[in-house]
């Protein structure tokens, strides 16, 4: 079934035309972590609590440089831990500042308690997580950290490229300040964080027009109208608080989609919550991916006309409607093969769990493939292996490249 490479398949990429693609942008070569830091600069983050952890550290290092170079007017504070980083982020957000920080793996696990608090306080902020798993020490790419925090009430986006990380951070601020729910933007360790890519860097005023200065929200300190924030909330009220959170969360999918389109109108690069590639009635199998594995899969499926791809960009709240729509053209016996770079201690990985919930009642054949936890490489050959194995109707959840 593998299609021979035709000479046509590469004509689209013409570097010369590319350079005129986005007005009011500068093209640069940049590592993902620096793109994230530059995004925080473009968004004029005002408060940055910092703590080092590989592979995130270069984000906060670059932010420190940006502050000292006078390119970013932010209060930058070295905290004593990620627990304190997130607690300080919470304080500054209640104080009405635009907050940015970054963490990874152990840092995110450590901050778990405060993640919950920030979400329950309905505080706007954007945080980057560079995914790595828990001890035994491992600093490589893995999404178990952020996926394990998916139930804390944070919105989560996963970026396929550094450009997407940069653009998503800008969109995330618009989203978080509109709906008052914190947002985590996740990028892959090393494959993105430390890999240089072409980046289109927008002008500051382009960003300013898209993202106006932060406004005081319902959860900001007002010295003239003192309040108590987060005190004892009796059952009836607690239940109501969750109800209003739930209602807000249910709007996120539509608002995020709208912001992605709006971003396209401003910057020339539209985004959607999910992306369907080659999903039609003749598609026999689709891969479901997050982050940079998507790019590898894109490359592989170019050689397989009967194979499609579903990329998830918004992960939490899970874009149920968009996923259902994306898969609607599939025939009934199409196969859904999910690539997991996470292990959450259960039979199925995090993506499969969400896909099953979203597709409840439909009868796609879904197979879950654990591939590349702890940073193990997922090269095109592994993706091909997954495709072949999925056609053989394996167990519902299996591992590749382990024996």
């Amino acid at each position: 079934m593998k299609k021979e490479n035709s000479p046509n398949s590469i004509t689209l990429e013409e570097p010369f035309l590319e350079s005129f693609k986005y007005p009011r942008h500068v093209q640069m070569v940049m590592k993902g972590n620096y793109a994230a830091a530059e995004a925080a600069r473009l968004c004029r983050a005002g408060f940055i609590p910092a703590y080092p952890i590989t592979p995130q550290t270069t984000i906060v290092e670059r932010l420190s440089e940006l502050v000292s170079e006078g390119k970013l007017d932010a209060t930058y504070i070295n905290m004593d831990s990620e627990h304190s980083v997130f607690a300080a982020a919470m304080g500054a957000a209640i104080g009405g500042e635009r907050v940015f920080t970054a963490t990874a793996g152990q840092g995110l696990f450590y901050a778990h308690e405060v993640l919950q608090a920030i979400a329950h306080f309905r505080l706007p902020m954007v945080v980057c997580n560079v995914g790595r798993p828990s001890i035994p020490w491992n600093i490589w790419s893995d999404q178990s950290d952020s996926l394990s925090q998916r139930d804390t009430g944070w919105i989560q986006f996963y970026g396929e490229s550094s450009q997407e990380v940069l653009d998503t951070i800008i969109q995330a601020y618009v989203l978080t300040e509109r709906i008052q729910i914190p947002v985590m933007v996740v990028l892959d360790a090393f494959y993105q964080s430390h890999t240089s890519e072409n980046i289109w860097m927008p002008d500051q005023n382009l960003a300013d027009r898209f993202l106006p200065p932060i406004q005081a929200g319902p959860m900001s300190i007002d010295m003239k109208q003192p309040k108590s924030f987060g005190g004892l909330l009796p059952p009836e009220y607690y239940n109501k608080m969750n109800y209003s959170f739930w209602k807000a969360m249910n709007k996120v999918e539509a608002i995020a989609e709208e912001i992605g389109i709006d971003f396209g109108a401003h910057f020339g690069r539209p985004y959607s919550n999910v992306e369907a590639v080659n999903i039609g009635p003749k598609t026999r199998l689709i891969l479901v991916t997050l982050s940079s594995i998507t790019s590898t899969a894109r490359g592989v499926i170019r050689d397989y006309p009967e194979i499609g791809l579903l990329k998830l960009r918004l992960f939490k709240p899970f874009p149920r409607e968009a996923v259902r729509q994306a898969l609607a053209p599939l025939s009934r016996d199409a196969i859904v093969a999910i690539v997991e770079r996470n292990f959450l201690g259960d039979r199925e990985g995090g993506i499969m769990q969400e896909m099953k919930r979203a597709l409840y009642g439909s009868d796609y054949k879904m197979y879950d493939f654990f591939a590349g936890t702890g940073g193990k490489d997922v090269p095109p050959e592994t993706i091909e292996k997954i495709i072949h194995r999925a056609f053989q109707q394996p167990e519902e959840a299996t591992w590749v490249d382990v024996d």
């Binding site: 627990h83 980083v85 607690a87 104080g95 608090a117 010295m223 924030f229 005190g231 009220y237």
Partner: protein, 298 residues
């Protein structure tokens, strides 16, 4: 008269109806604090009895903003609040942490040390009632030697010495740290005012009466607090950078047991087989005082 010396609070900065037990130190302390700190204050509170005393939603004890935060991280949350206020030009607003001993000596020590070492412009108040009272009297590292708590398997009382928090704090070389007692209101109120008017990280540790936790008569809270100072169990002193000042030198040498005998949590120490523990507390108290005198004399 200086507001610090107006014990009869005319302009209350708290509403009536604090939800504490009778004879609790927290509510009296906060009432005095608030009367001096005023409304241009943001309070930050980790979990403690004060989280409850300050009122369930939609009630609020304080006539100022109060941010409740997670147990371990009040100084970090306060750091964020401080930074936000500073960025908005509200540099004169006081940011105050109201924490218990558990939230300070134990779970919050790291965040406290971090904020102190950065010399954040924060006022840290620790109401030291010597145990995790809100959860029902469990041992903290502030619990006195020999005190009964609910988490001492075996003998039922604590066999380890409490941490010297003031020593730890002094080691951070701070602009201002002091101890204070509700039985010495003039001293307490002056210290609060001094702390309010000092920039940088300031800490006040207040001896916190707690009738259920200390197994005392609620009517005796202030009397016992006075005895704690008079017996030197709770000395009143200030540390400014490296300089120590003793604020009150008891006239007579009253033995520690005069204070301990009013507190049911020490009852077992008065049994013949444990009496030598009272001697140990006395010796420890005497040495601590001598050390304070030495530091104050330097």
């Amino acid at each position: 008269m200086k507001p610090a010396l107006e014990f009869l609070i005319k302009d209350e900065k708290v509403y009536s109806g604090a939800l504490s037990c009778r004879g609790c130190g927290w509510s009296l302390l906060v009432r005095h604090l608030a009367s001096i700190l005023g409304e241009d204050t943001v309070y930050v509170a980790p979990a403690s009895c004060f989280s409850i005393i300050s009122g369930p939603y939609p009630l609020q004890e304080l006539k100022a903003n109060l941010v409740h935060t997670v147990f371990a991280a009040a100084p970090a949350t306060a750091t964020g609040v401080r930074a936000a206020l500073d960025r908005q030009g509200k540099k004169d607003t006081t940011v105050v942490i109201l924490a218990g001993d558990g939230g300070t000596f134990d779970i919050g020590l790291q965040a406290l040390s971090g904020a102190a070492a950065r010399n954040e412009n924060l006022l840290y108040i620790v109401n030291n009632n010597g145990a995790y009272m809100n959860t029902g009297i469990q041992s903290s590292t502030a619990t006195p030697y020999g005190a009964v708590t609910t988490t001492n398997p075996g003998e039922g009382f604590k066999r380890a010495w409490p941490k010297d928090l003031m020593g730890i704090i002094a080691a951070h070389n701070l602009p201002y740290a002091a101890t204070a007692s509700l039985a010495f209101l003039e001293d307490l109120r002056q210290k609060v005012e001094k702390a309010k008017n000092t920039k940088g990280f300031r800490l006040l540790m207040i001896d916190g009466p707690c009738p259920p936790g200390h197994k005392t008569d609620p009517a005796m809270s202030i009397h016992i607090g006075r005895l704690a100072v008079e017996t030197r169990l709770f000395p009143l002193f200030e540390v400014e950078r490296q300089d120590y000042t003793i604020n009150y030198r008891p006239g007579k040498n009253i033995p520690v047991e005069e204070c301990m005998k009013h507190q049911g949590r020490f009852k077992q120490l008065f049994r013949p087989e444990n009496r030598q523990m009272i001697e140990e507390v006395q010796a420890h108290t005497d040495r601590y005082w001598m050390r304070l005198e030495m530091l104050a004399g330097m």
